[in-house]
Symmetry: C2
Subunit: 298 residues, 2 copies
């Protein structure tokens, strides 16, 4: 079977179309690699690129992308709402098919070593690839941002994994690592009371004692005048979609509020939907790898 890996790097340019297109061309022109999606945010001044392919193709495309961002993006002149530490800021690798997380960690190590060498950009390994527990979390590594990073790497706790105890003068440093697919799933409530969405967000998120691998907050959908629980699920195998949905429904009942709909942002793996169907249809002994026709085509 063919191994397939996905990468979703964020680059620190969301305004200059020429630069964005030149970076994305590095993905488009790599044989064996498929560009799935990209979207730029002008406020954040940041572009998210999604592509997939064989491990070899994704490795090459990712290194080429890093080199191009070092060439074209100057962090000393960068302004934007989103925290960032590098011209390519974060580069996660996600196993999609016939690939273990360990193989994905190995891939991230190869890419990290090559980026340090070929793009002259120091690399932190994060998430499943992290070399110490305190270096798993992206926000912890990125704290201090580009402006504070030259000082931060002098701390023995924050020496880059590849590229030496330094940053690139205009490109900063990048986080590279393996992680499970992330699902962005927002649940809309039948109320205009933002505080209800905020309370539910607090109940379900891991950081305040809720569900493992769930981040959540309340936001207002101004144009529809309804409150939304905005959710990031960082490991749907640990906490599946249906559990989040059922818990939000149950907590909303406290206020006599219903779930009126939901939004799935971007891409999600088929298995997340199959897990959902298996739960609600109560299928015993479900074998999706055999029983779902399309799995024979993959």
């Amino acid at each position: 079977m063919a191994k397939i890996v996905e990468s979703v790097p964020n680059i620190s340019e969301g305004r200059n179309k020429d630069i964005i297109e030149a970076c994305i061309d590095e993905i488009r022109t790599t044989p064996g690699c498929t560009l799935l999606d990209y979207s730029s945010d002008e406020d954040h001044n940041r572009t998210v690129i999604t592509y997939m392919g064989s491990p070899e193709a994704v490795e090459d495309a990712s290194v080429k992308l890093a080199k191009k961002t070092v060439e074209l993006i100057d962090l000393t002149k960068h302004e934007g709402a989103h925290p960032r530490m590098g011209c390519v800021d974060v580069m996660p690798f996600i196993p999609l098919k016939d690939m273990t997380m360990d193989e994905c960690v190995e891939l991230s190590n190869r890419v990290g070593e090559r980026i340090a060498k070929e793009a002259d950009l120091p690399v932190f390994l994060y998430e499943k690839s992290a070399t110490a527990p305190h270096r798993q979390n992206l926000a912890a590594i990125r704290k201090g941002q580009f402006e504070g990073m030259a000082e931060k790497v002098k701390d023995p706790d924050w020496i880059p994994d590849f590229g030496g105890q330094r940053i690139h003068p205009t490109g900063g440093a990048v986080c590279v690592g393996a992680r499970p697919p992330l699902i962005a799933y927002n649940i809309n409530l039948g109320t205009s009371d933002l505080s209800i969405a905020e309370k539910i967000g607090k109940i379900i998120r891991e950081s305040s004692g809720g569900l493992h691998a769930v981040k959540a907050m309340g936001v207002m959908l101004e144009d529809r005048n309804i409150a939304q629980v905005s959710i990031n699920m960082t490991d749907y195998a640990v906490t599946p979609l249906y559990r989040v949905m059922e818990l939000v429904k149950a907590e909303a009942k406290m206020y006599g509020v219903s779930v009126v709909g939901s939004e799935l942002i971007g891409l999600a793996p088929m298995q997340a939907f199959l897990d959902t169907a298996e739960y609600y249809l109560q299928i015993e002994d479900f074998k999706p790898e055999i029983q779902v026709i399309e799995n024979h085509l993959l």
Copy 2:
């Protein structure tokens, strides 16, 4: 994009392993065709074979299979619990990917014409390929079975579509046609009272005024001592899985009975599970062809 079609022929041999294997070898040895599954029933004396591939490959494999069954299976000596009219009894074609139902009807016509010519077996077009409304239903065409078929084809209403007004002396005749995927989905009730499953089966099935494209009956799972609503869904796009599940749950409440589980028999298309997830997760504006990562691999 590559067109993919599935076929699920039933052949009238479920006991003699040599004959069964010789028939299935016709599928195995056809380039571009993938054998997905086969299962034989000795009581029914019948084998169901599932394969898929390009329309050209599936056409060739299907014609070769028909020729082999005419060669090896003699209906004048056939006994079994299941009604049958031919050595290959029924041969449905199901569009799986990048293929319309109309293209599948055309394929069934090509296969039918070739089977009549190359295997000397008269062919009835059924389901979406039927040439008259009274010839859509398999059971209606097959009524009278092999033993009555030579007489039946003298009726102008029942002249075969290909192969003339006759049957093959040992092979009978075959039904060929295009249809949507069929899903066999059985719902287990938390009761040992078979009559409850029978009543629910009657409520949900189309033939007694229930849901369109649903066949259902009550059966007893003797080893577990629970009653089951055994369901065949002939068009999940018309009546989706979740609607059947929710209606069975609602009707079971009348008796204070819960759904304790379900069985999915054989294969089902991914779209049926995505429809289920979309419903229960209440996803607004879901675009599975873009948002499900694996759909980019297919």
